[in-house]
């Protein structure tokens, strides 16, 4: 197994002397020495055990005919029956396709928007203006989805601010907040409003780490601003782009629950059904039962895991760092 990147560099920095000393000690001696560290780690590990590893192991019921009313060992293993039922479910494929649609809309348009914002912001010379804009654009990242959707309803809804203006100019009311045919655009717009500032901050941090003397040398050699952007800026932020791309590809089925659940009443369930809302409405509060919902969740989790590993592997092959390195 490979080690995550975060663990690799410090291990290399550590002086070799101490590690070799440690290795010669027995487990008991090391326990006597390190028990305070283990004790400090214990609460977090307990939390992970109860709320990450325990539920993870409950995924086994995706392969069983699990009923909550009988003891665990009385449930039969049924193989991949639940997955077959899942793929046969008339609501599953639309939910999957919707998830992919919203995810790709974000991938294709949110990424470039964050990069463009970061580049524009980076080129603003005045530090004061820059920090004002940065503060404004980044603020909605900390808003809840309830707040974001509420603000959208208030501004773009049929009784909203913009509709009111349009009426004043003799126009018609907007119905974008309840129109299923434009929901992909709306969902993207909300996502951009909320999260583009976050992407921008990360890209700005990457831009700030590019050595300015590279620009100077290029300018002296006669490269204009577009050439400098193409040959210095973009290569400079490429590792960050690749890192975020891998994370995004791994989360491609992970568009979240709240944004879609919140607009289910206004837009209709056909358009807003994504995998998470599918599990919630069909299984948690629906009639399909635990094994069905677990199978849908496991499908999502395994695809996400595979996609991260594949994307990271591809990144390694292209000579990028990715999220973890082989060790």
């Amino acid at each position: 197994m490979a080690a995550l990147q975060t663990s690799a560099p410090p291990a290399a920095e550590k002086p070799a002397k101490r590690t070799s000393l440690r290795r010669r000690r027995s487990i008991g001696q090391r326990l006597r020495h390190d028990w305070p560290l283990l004790l400090m780690t214990l609460p977090a590990l307990a939390q992970l055990a109860v709320f990450f590893y325990w539920p993870s192991s409950w995924n086994i019921i995706a392969f069983m005919d699990y009923k909550t009313y009988r003891p665990f060992w009385e449930n039969q293993f049924v193989g991949v029956d639940w997955f077959l039922r899942l793929f046969d479910n008339p609501y599953f494929l639309p939910a999957l396709l919707n998830t992919l649609k919203y995810s790709f809309a974000n991938l294709l348009f949110l990424f470039p928007l964050s990069i463009v914002l970061a580049l524009l912001m980076h080129s603003v010379v005045s530090t004061k203006l820059r920090s004002v804009f940065q503060s404004i654009v980044y603020l909605p990242y900390f808003f809840s989805w309830v707040l974001v959707v509420t603000v959208f309803v208030q501004v773009l809804g049929s009784d909203g601010l913009v509709s009111n203006w349009l009426l004043g100019f003799g126009g018609e009311r907007l119905d974008i907040m309840s129109d299923p045919s434009t929901f992909t655009f709306l969902a993207w717009l909300q996502w951009a409003w909320k999260d583009a500032g976050w992407g921008m901050i990360i890209f700005l941090a990457a831009l700030a780490s590019i050595n300015p003397s590279l620009y100077e040398a290029a300018a002296v050699d006669g490269a204009n601003r577009w050439r400098r952007m193409w040959h210095i800026t973009l290569p400079g932020i490429r590792p960050v782009i690749v890192l975020l791309l891998i994370l995004h590809i791994g989360g491609i089925l992970n568009v979240g629950f709240e944004q879609y659940q919140l607009q289910r009443d206004a837009i209709g369930y056909q358009t807003t059904e994504v995998l998470d809302t599918f599990v919630y409405y069909r299984s948690v509060i629906g009639t399909e039962g635990p094994s069905f919902g677990t199978a849908a969740g496991l499908f999502k989790g395994v695809i996400g895991l595979v996609l991260v590993l594949v994307a990271n592997n591809v990144a390694h092959r292209l000579g990028e760092q990715g999220i973890y390195q082989k060790s």
Binding site: T6, L37, P43, N164, R225, Y280
Partner: protein, 311 residues
């Protein structure tokens, strides 16, 4: 305004490097226009929400629609009815309590594990770190998580709004990197030499040196608890007093009434809460974020660089 404009312009000329050519007029205007429009798309809605929350009934009726930019008559009645001790007050107090307790628990877990896992040679260091890092790759899924909360008997308990989300592995790793890279090893060794144990070293040496990043992480947790909606929908649908985000959703996005409100409490005169009251609740959910925000902003970029990019 003019007084601040002049030094800005001067600085502008001063900080553009000598090799950088002046942009064209078209470029300058297009850039400024884009950035100003983008900022306006964020500022104007927030302003309209705040303005509407202070508008009186008459001003709202005159303006039509459900938002206005400048109230013709100012009133704080909406805020009075939020803080009148009814369902909205209870919900706000609950959310403040959950945020405070949750953040405290999260910080204990995160600091402990970040420090406990910050010595590369310590016992079980690598396997324990792997257990943490694996959470980045896989998610247990909604139903199994729900099942575990159910088995623990925490459904419709406020603990289910804290414990399942108490640890964020990303924050843990960021803090751990900070302890390893930015707290000088010599100081830790010196403390050990003076006979300080691990706990003493943590509290007397490491934590005082990490105040800024600890504050940022605490604020991130606090924002997470404050914004919690999904967990409340999933784990505590039966509770009478709901977190403020759920209340906001019920008031503004669905036709249900405010959870936990006596019949008619906020509907004395009208069929539904007035626009000003709704917007006042929105403002109440924004205010804590805006208070915490400058601090996050100030230190965040540093934290992101040490944590995510350098690794």
């Amino acid at each position: 305004m003019t007084a601040t404009d002049i030094p800005l312009k001067k600085r502008r000329k001063n900080t553009r490097p000598a090799w950088d050519e002046e942009p064209t007029w078209f470029g300058k205007i297009a850039k400024a226009l884009f950035l100003v429009c983008y900022a306006a798309a964020i500022v104007i809605p927030i302003w309209a929400v705040v303005a509407t929350s202070f508008a009186s009934e008459d001003a709202l009726a005159k303006a039509g629609g459900n938002l206005l930019l400048i109230p013709s008559e100012v009133s704080v009645k909406a805020y009075q009815s939020i803080f009148d001790g009814g369902a909205l007050t209870r919900s706000l107090l609950l959310t403040i309590g959950l945020t405070a307790l949750g953040t405290a628990i999260s910080m204990v877990l995160t600091i402990g594990a970040a420090y406990g896992l910050s010595r590369t040679g310590s016992l079980f260091h690598r396997p324990l770190l792997m257990l943490v890092l694996f959470t980045f790759l896989f998610a247990p899924g909604m139903y199994p998580s729900y099942l575990v909360v159910q088995k623990l008997g925490l459904l419709d308990s406020y603990w289910s709004l804290i414990l399942p989300m108490a640890l964020n592995a990303f924050n843990l790793i960021v803090l751990r990197s900070f302890f390893m890279n930015s707290v000088p090893n010599e100081l830790i060794d010196a403390a050990k030499m003076d006979g300080a144990g691990e706990f003493r070293t943590l509290f007397k040496v490491v934590l005082p040196m990490s105040k800024a990043i600890l504050a940022v992480i605490a604020l991130f947790y606090a924002v997470g608890y404050w914004n919690m909606y999904f967990q409340a929908v999933l784990y505590t649908p039966g509770l009478e007093t709901q977190p403020i985000q759920v209340v906001l959703q019920r008031m503004l996005l669905s036709t249900q009434g405010i959870p936990g409100a006596d019949v008619g409490q906020y509907q004395a005169a009208e069929a539904a809460p007035t626009a000003a009251l709704k917007m006042a609740v929105v403002v109440c959910t924004i205010v804590p974020i805006v208070i915490m925000y400058p601090f996050i902003q100030k230190h965040f970029t540093k934290a992101i660089i040490t944590g995510a990019i350098k690794g």
